[in-house]
Symmetry: C2
Subunit: 291 residues, 2 copies
Amino acid sequence: MASRTPSAPSPASAPARGDRPEPAVRPRRRLSVDERREQLIAVALELFSHRPPEEVSIDDIAAAAGASRPLVYHYFPGKQAIYEESLRRAGRELSARFEEPAEGPLSARLYRVMGRYLDFVQSHGPGFAALLRGGSVTASTNTSAVIDEVRKAAHDQILGHLALPSPSPGLRLTVRAWIANAEITSLEWLADRSVPLEELQLHLVQEFVAALTLTAAREPALAAELAGFFADERPDGPTGRLVRDLAGLLAVPGLADALTGLAAEPGPNPGPNPGPGPDPGPADDTRSEAG
Amino acid sequence: MASRTPSAPSPASAPARGDRPEPAVRPRRRLSVDERREQLIAVALELFSHRPPEEVSIDDIAAAAGASRPLVYHYFPGKQAIYEESLRRAGRELSARFEEPAEGPLSARLYRVMGRYLDFVQSHGPGFAALLRGGSVTASTNTSAVIDEVRKAAHDQILGHLALPSPSPGLRLTVRAWIANAEITSLEWLADRSVPLEELQLHLVQEFVAALTLTAAREPALAAELAGFFADERPDGPTGRLVRDLAGLLAVPGLADALTGLAAEPGPNPGPNPGPGPDPGPADDTRSEAG
């Protein structure tokens, strides 16, 4: 972060000043090369967080940094380079927010992480949206790499908290799909900001718990671990609320009966209650022939 | 599709032929302007389906079409234009596969659609992957628009089958997140092709049913509709198998007990069974203070 200590302006701190009027945005002092570079990145990140990249110019960055256009070019070959550098910083900052002590119920840990993640989304909104929506002129293999690294950090953190000896491909896929869900949910929220962030935070955690449960229903090894995760959960946590919300569905007229019918095993040895089957159409497990 | 009827080569059908050796890929005949354009798009789509766009040249397209490089340029200003045009065709083709009669259980309909979708993924693999992974030199606002249109077609088809009077924002978000899940799952499968496509097909449908159920647990109006959906489902369909897989989890040692503990209502008037709470740490619903 750039120091805010004021000092007398010095020509040496702004070489090759252009002919534009002097911006009076923030006090300047003689910065070291590293400090100046870091300051420019911080200023650029702030600008790129609040506007799509195509609406931020080198002049904007120079003005916001209290520097000249040539000075910015002295540190960065062009807008793309400074955009990518500020993006890398944002990626590191976001990844750091995923770190959480391995203590307490899993859903409570994830809930705290999602609070920090959503604060980031809120404070870097338009830039976050422009980046993830892609198709921007500033999209490149470098920007894709930053996105992929953040996704990988999220993925690795979650698997670390699950602490399984060998996470299955199915579980890894579940985690990746949930991360995509979190991204899409964030983008939707940025577009209309129609619900409190706390609601998103709770729902995303509950969706992770549900996705984990669904995966466990297919994978016996994970099912045994799931029992341990659930035993650590608390009634007032996201998982407790989820369990009660789902249990509440059983009170909806007709739903419990429908589930009972579906729970009956079909096949060569049908149980005593084969369930409703009003539609004698094609079996559900025929794959389409369309090529 | 280009006709395969052979005819004698005619100089008029290949104006401004270059000096490269004559490719003998397919028989040529005099094509109308529209036919030739369609043929070039079809040939390009085939090439772009099997290789990333940066590995397909105008020369490759000309050779595969039995045409000259200048002929291709006569119809398209450059590779980007023919790439985008073939992508638009692929998008229309994929969107058409989402169409399904509104008959029978919802999960069976979605299962058939997913069969056709996964066939498309399989036959257009590398191009599909390159497109969705983004960061390609050919990515543009036009390619993003095609992707968005396909996603919108999928979203609208699903909402059409749900046939609700006014789908909530929460449900729309659920549908969009599930579409992202389908994309990610497809990309993972293309990278390793480690499981049978039928397994993906079943799992994706079940994940949709689970996501719909979770949304209904939060939205009473949807819960009432959910009972109707489930009443139409069949034990041998994706939903029936899902219900039995989830019910099977209750047999996992400790899991049913943990769920019973979580189902107890916490709060100012705790029930007779407040549930396990070995961790007296911070309450689960504190949002992070990190800014």
